[in-house]
């Protein structure tokens, strides 16, 4: 059963100047579950989209059962037996149709499917698929009336109905509870026995431990590690995925000032342990952890977009309960969100207009904007962060990703804050821009308290005085950024620490 169902050799893919995949070699053996791990932006989704015919590759070869395979469209890939369940559930189901129609949708597309729909037959076949999956749903229910977990299972059932030879699952358990996930795993066990090659993309260590036969780690568009000998080296896989090459930046841990923000027993979810921490003036704290570990949730709570399940916050000693970003900003808590394209950049604006967006009032006496005042601020931020541009009036779209990110960060550094929160400030940013932003954050750190959320460890090591580790909505580690024990930190990131209760989890 060791023969490769699918072999990928030297796949390249670039979007404009951005090289997303740089020579991927990968085999997916039949009758095994290959887990693909990678941080945000490592290129996993792009690889999946090439395999399932959404994107065309720029270079390299794919072989399917020894035959060359170049799907021009998703339907061709499915015909060849490569079936994908995408991360976004709504790609997999049509909410306004009932369960039966959803399960049988692909049959309706087959040649010879006939013009009229035979409802009875449709439901009968749908019931068969559902029962094979262990799905206990009336097939006449509208999908829009179902919960997220059930929708996810239907999307997966749809994929099963297509008789996959190679099944690709992109974070299938992200919305499933433990029991539902177990149902899925049983099904995957069954498929594995029948010889289906499964590529399983996930960050959840518990899933990976349960089902992985092999682990492949991806980082920056390349394969950074392949693990297939028993017992699997989970920690090694996480290390390969996050990378921890010591960086050239030396951090002199600065003396803490007075406390700025205090979190007292903040609970992110029912399962998470209460989080208590204090962040001081003149301190840069990095909070790291895998996707879904709760980083963005903390950022949202600090910025008034979400309420914690329990616990209080104090800002400069006073109770802090922001009801909106507007209120958070008024209290002096600023946040630069992750995913700048959807959460940050105003694409039709120039650099100046983007940079001054949150603080137009400072540049607009009696509401009338003073272009000169805006330009002064922008010019000084351009110099401070080293934005490479012709003039402050350049369209934001003409800048590279790194320079756009500098503008996004500069947006929040242009005014004095109590607490500056930066969620993934180095996402899609080249190394030079990353250093520029990091230097600028550290140089101005004495004016405020700073929290940086970063999944990549080198990013955290490069910028922080103190590094906190989150795992599944709980704080599991704290490290002063001096001779950090990387092994211990990686164990905490991947949730191994829980198995070694003797590990020094709260050293500081």
């Amino acid at each position: 059963m060791q023969h490769a169902a699918c072999r990928v050799v030297g796949i390249e893919k670039a979007f404009g100047p951005n090289r997303v995949l740089r020579g991927i070699d990968l085999t997916i053996p039949a009758g095994q579950i290959t887990v693909l791990m990678g941080a945000n932006g490592a290129g996993k989704s792009t690889l999946v989209k090439i395999l399932c015919g959404v994107h065309a590759r720029d270079g390299g070869n794919i072989e399917l059962f020894g035959e060359p395979f170049s799907p021009a469209s998703p339907s061709q890939a499915i015909e060849a037996g490569v079936v994908t369940v995408h991360q976004s559930i709504n790609d997999g189901v049509i909410p306004d149709l009932d369960v039966a129609s959803n399960l049988m949708l692909d049959r309706l597309n087959e040649p010879g499917a006939g013009f009229f729909i035979n409802r009875g037959k449709l439901r009968g076949e749908a019931r068969k698929i559902a029962s094979a999956m262990g799905l206990d749903i009336d097939v006449r229910t509208q999908v829009s009336d179902l919960g997220v977990a059930e929708r996810q299972l239907i999307a997966i059932a749809r994929a099963m109905a297509k008789d996959p030879k190679v099944l690709i699952l992109d974070e299938p358990t992200s919305s499933l509870s433990a029991t539902e996930a177990e149902r899925l795993f049983k099904l995957l066990d069954h498929l594995r026995e029948t010889g289906v090659a499964i590529l399983y993309i996930s960050h959840r260590m518990s899933d990976i431990r349960r089902i992985a036969d092999r682990i492949i780690s991806m980082r920056d568009g390349q394969i950074s590690g392949t693990f297939e000998t028993e017992p699997l080296d989970y920690e090694g896989a996480v290390t390969a995925m996050l990378g921890h090459a010591m960086t050239a930046v030396d951090i002199n841990v600065a003396a803490k000032g007075e406390p700025v923000i205090e979190l007292d027993g903040i609970k992110l979810s029912e399962g998470g342990a209460p989080i208590t921490l204090t962040i001081h003036r003149n301190e840069v704290v990095a909070i790291t952890g895998l996707l879904g570990s709760g980083k963005t949730k903390i950022a949202s709570i600090l910025f008034g977009m979400e309420k914690p399940l329990a616990g209080q916050m104090r800002l400069a000693g006073k109770p802090y309960t922001p009801a909106s970003p507007e209120a958070a900003i008024a209290a002096g808590v600023f946040m630069s969100p992750k995913d700048r394209a959807s959460n940050g950049v105003i694409p039709t604006f120039d650099i100046t207009q983007n940079l001054t967006l949150p603080f137009t009032a400072r540049h607009a006496p009696f509401s009338f904007l003073s272009r000169a005042s805006e330009k002064r601020t922008t010019q000084s931020m351009i110099e401070q962060l080293g934005v490479v541009c012709q003039s402050p009036a350049d369209d934001i779209g003409t800048l590279s990703g790194g320079n756009q990110q500098k503008v996004m960060v500069g947006r929040w550094m242009a005014e004095a804050s109590q607490l500056l929160v930066l969620d993934e400030p180095f996402q899609g940013v080249d190394i030079r821009a990353r250093r520029d932003i990091g230097r600028s954050i550290r140089n101005t750190a004495s004016e405020r308290a700073t929290i940086v959320f970063a999944a990549e460890l080198d990013e955290a090591l490069e910028i922080a005085d103190r590094i906190l580790v989150l795992y599944e909505h709980s704080l599991v580690g704290e490290h002063r950024n001096e001779n950090v024990d990387l092994g211990a930190m990686l164990a905490q990131v991947s949730g191994q620490a829980a198995q070694y209760p003797n590990t020094e989890t709260h050293a500081s």
Binding site: E326, I346, T360
Partner: protein, 362 residues
């Protein structure tokens, strides 16, 4: 400088950042940019020159005043809808808000025998209130903008007919209760629609034109020069990012619909003042004409976005074209065809050329 394909290879390794661009490409690029920026204004100028030469009496203050008068009310509505387009929304109810204001002002004066001031005030409040409801439907109830304002449109078309059982309002009409309406349109109200100021010639410029220009200036200043306008454009471009920058997005969106409603009611008041009766059949074309003006405005100065100056020019463009064609004896029934043609050309300008300018878009 001549281009050299050979040297481009080794040059790439040297630290010279800009790639050498052939001069011819550069020139055609600037030409395209010029066409995008000034194409539509040149077209307008060309039309004016053409009609001035081709017809008798097109070039003259009377004709110009007539053109302005013909587009004043549509232009005011178009400026309102521009504000909703700026925040990424749309307002289909403006036409019916205008006709509702027309009926309401007539009802206030003729049936309820109120003063001009009360009638105008009632219309403005009605417009603002309709805008508020539109905004709340869209922001709080999450109804898509087109659907919410379409619903409002039907609601108002129906509502304005109920008090008079579907009949137009004029002095001496019999009311549903059997009594006769004694009120009259006050002269002060009619002044709004009919008075002409002296400018160059005696009795040249009608009041609605002045109001159109004032409203246009106000909307332009608001959108281009104030921080509120800036934030509204930001909302239209990336709503989520604007909210994360601490902007109260909902408040701005509701404000945009309220501005739109008030503008539409001003248009309705002016229409009533010009007609002097609550004519149930007037204002059918208002919605489409004003939306067309706002969309044509995208093409002016290569803005590729809703803007007050463009909207005003767009309204004038249609006015010039129709006036010129009418003076060249083009039959009235070709008018809508001409408007449609202008709109399609303008949209081509906006979307085809300006996406090329941005390097194929994203």
């Amino acid at each position: 400088m001549t281009t050299d394909t050979q040297t481009s290879q080794p040059q790439a390794s040297k630290p010279v950042p800009p790639r050498p661009v052939p001069a011819s490409v550069d020139r055609s690029q600037t030409l395209v940019n010029l066409a995008i920026r000034y194409g539509f204004l040149c077209l307008l100028l060309g039309l004016i020159v053409f009609f001035s030469l081709a017809t008798n009496g097109f070039a003259g203050p009377r004709s110009a005043a007539f053109i302005f008068q013909s587009v004043a009310i549509t232009g005011i509505l178009a400026l309102g809808v521009t504000c909703t387009l700026v925040v990424g929304g749309f307002d289909l109810s403006i036409g019916s808000v205008a006709t509702s204001a027309l009926m309401l002002s007539a009802y206030m004066m003729v049936v309820l025998e109120q003063s001009a001031f009360v009638a105008v005030l009632a219309c403005l409040v009605m417009g603002a209130f309709v805008g508020l409801i539109n905004g709340l439907l869209i922001v709080k109830m999450r109804v898509p903008d087109l659907l919410a304002t379409l619903g409002m449109m039907f609601l108002l078309i129906g509502l304005q007919r109920i008090p008079t059982e579907g009949r137009s309002i004029s002095t001496g009409m019999t009311l549903p209760g059997g009594e006769v309406a004694e009120g009259v349109f006050s002269p002060a109200f009619l002044w709004l629609g009919r008075h002409r100021f002296d400018f160059v010639l005696e009795d040249l410029i009608p009041v609605p034109v002045i109001i159109f220009l004032i409203v246009g200036l106000f909307v332009w200043v608001f959108l281009e020069l104030t921080r509120h306008g800036r934030l509204m454009y930001a909302i239209g471009s990336n709503e989520r990012a604007t909210a994360l920058a601490g902007t109260n997005v909902n408040r701005y969106k509701i404000t945009a619909y309220m501005i739109s409603g008030v503008m539409a009611s001003i248009g309705g008041i002016l229409l009533a003042a010009r007609l002097g009766r609550g004519d149930i059949a007037s204002g059918n074309n208002l919605l489409l004409d004003s939306v067309a003006a706002a969309l044509i405005g995208f093409a002016v100065l290569g803005a590729a976005k809703p803007n007050a100056f463009g909207t005003a020019i767009g309204a004038l463009f249609v006015g010039v074209l129709l006036q010129g064609l009418t003076m060249m004896n083009a039959p009235y029934y070709t008018q809508d065809f001409v408007k449609g043609g202008v709109l399609v050309v303008a949209l081509m300008f906006t979307f085809a050329l300006s996406t090329r300018k941005r390097g194929g878009g994203h």
